[in-house]
Symmetry: C2
Subunit: 363 residues, 2 copies
């Protein structure tokens, strides 16, 4: 194996595949990055739950492959000057890395036995913009449950039908739904583990480039630019989330997202980390009082809203409200209250691109 | 008590005095900030080892004083919009904080019993530029020992004589000395706890404004702008550090600080956190090879230097070299090697503003 490539390109490849490398594994090979100089240069990280393949522009002088410890390899490349990096295998899996005046020799591992990414048997496939997929993940990921006892809810449902793709997360206290249009008229459902979605989110860029998503029975493949990410799917049937959303509302309030978020943030300030008191919203006509009362004191903030329906007093866990409101880019949204004890729904004013539902707490 | 002031000014005052407030104390009052609306607005934090007083511009409508929990108070003020903040005591130590549409009521504590800063009986005093003092702390603080068994070395020596002020830190492996000129011809020695120096460093600004330093028998007072910081001193006699610095050198090398630092950083990359192997410097004429060899592999980096004296091969703990070299602003420095097992001295080429001494490790 003998190749050279640009330092920054190589570092980006390493940083990407590293997201799928275990930092502590029982077998050293699983803490490694697989490097293959073939027709092009390919890097692979794989922790079984998720695998990432990344292709880098490189000048390949001699083909070959090796596995290098992920942390060591990335630390070395990160420390190099911004210049061409020359890498070759010396003998017995010893790899030489040269760049400018720097010279490294590190011990690698035989590439045999490295768990390569499985081939995906194409069942269904859709194409979506990178930025749209990134946005859908951001708008739903915080509502994924951490509770391993209910495995299904530790992932997001990705559902395609009628020319649109919907992502849904749900943790028993709140529900987040985001949508985007696609060209393909396919129909499928898949539950993607939250941890993997978080890593995919980091790799995706805010770009118009397309991501091809291919599903097999138990895996999803995301392909974009020089990158292929395989995620296992969570087995089972997702909740019928549509049935949870109430259809009748007692009060409908249009709020300025920034003002409302700041108000909730301020009301949270007088709560300690351990004791999350509810924040109370008192809606009287076109005025909303955001207030809280804890052992430390009380807080009040008045904001102007635009109300349809009856007055309402309702309490929320402020963290749940903030999680949702912090990912909204719209200037204003509608909040629909079904009753002081029933679910509350948040929607943008002129689209159904996303929907949040939050359960109130007793006050 | 009733006053109003600018939010940013108040926040800066809180952030400053907070550095002297205990985050966990047995008495709630010790987790508080003392606030006094007198002729001007004064905030105080005091943890006995160190106390900070800070004056803020405020419009005082009614005099009075109170103690507010430091974390709660700073969280509230930080969350407020950038506007005028109105604060008054309602009754029974309940304090109302108002700003724009936000309203808070929090429970405070009686100011009686708050440990106010002691008066300093002037013994010796000097005046130095803020930026010069900040610079001296930065150049020496990393060489302070953490070893509580030798209390003296957990502080820096501040020594004034002959129109200059010298700061010295020393931990048994290395010695850092920084100097600056002063106008006063006074002579004193004081050992200031490293922890306090770190906090003083954060409060000092990169400005030409003066700091007045006043010493009493067991305390030092730093006065600048709106701020007074009192630090206790460490009792005892500091080491006679001058006798540690060798006078004869076998090899003298002029190095480019950036190149040398990068070289040492790269050589450190193949070391794990737990196992700090030495970095070896091999000086042969005007070439220096920076090299290391660990269980992970080897690294080599060649840099050009300008050498006087014999060839030399010497090993160092790379962290100790990096700590020193990272605070040097000069482009080039001289490194003086006494022998492969004797101390090595680093100095700027054309001044004695600072000196570092480092002991080598066996290779």
């Amino acid at each position: 194996m003998n190749f050279s490539c640009n330092k920054q390109d190589l570092l980006e490849a390493i940083t990407t595949v590293q997201k799928a490398v275990m930092s502590k594994a029982t077998l050293p090979i699983l803490e490694g990055i697989y490097i293959e100089a073939g027709d092009s240069l390919k890097l692979v990280g794989n922790c079984f739950d998720m695998g990432i393949e990344y292709y880098v522009n490189a000048d390949i002088k001699e083909k070959g492959s090796i596995v290098l410890n992920s942390k060591m390899f990335s630390d070395i490349i990160r420390g190099l000057p911004d210049s061409e990096v020359f890498i070759h295998e010396k003998e017995n899996y010893v790899v030489v890395i040269e760049c400018s005046n720097s010279y490294f020799e590190i011990k690698g591992l035989s590439p045999e036995g490295y768990p390569m990414l499985p081939e995906i048997e194409e069942k269904d496939k859709i194409t979506v913009q990178q930025s749209a997929l990134k946005d859908m993940i951001r708008k739903t990921i915080y509502a994924i449950s951490n509770d391993e006892k209910n495995k299904i809810l530790t992932g997001s449902l990705m559902e395609a039908s009628d020319g649109e793709i919907t992502m849904v997360s749900l943790d028993g206290y709140r529900l987040a739904i985001a949508k985007t249009f696609i060209k393909e008229v396919v129909s499928f459902k898949a539950i993607i583990p939250g941890k993997n979605l978080g890593e995919i989110y980091k790799v995706l860029e805010q770009s118009d480039e397309k991501v091809k998503i291919t599903l097999s029975t138990n895996q999803a493949l995301f392909e974009f630019e020089n990158c292929r990410i395989i995620s296992k799917l969570i087995d089972g049937e997702y909740m019928n989330y549509r049935s949870f959303i109430p259809e009748k509302f007692e009060t409908q309030v249009e709020v300025n997202v920034k003002e409302f978020t700041k108000g909730i943030e301020r009301a949270s300030v007088i709560m300690s980390e351990e004791n999350k008191y509810p924040v109370k919203l008192i809606i009287e006509g076109d005025s909303m009082l955001i207030t809280s009362s804890t052992k430390f004191g009380i807080s009040k903030e008045q904001i102007e809203v635009s109300t349809n329906g009856s007055n309402m007093t309702i309490g929320f866990n402020p963290r749940f409200l903030l999680d949702s409101f912090r990912v909204i880019e719209d200037e204003k949204v509608e909040i629909y209250f079904s009753s002081p004890v029933g679910p509350c729904v948040v929607k943008p004013i002129e689209s159904d691109k996303f929907t949040f539902m939050i359960l109130p707490v007793r006050i």
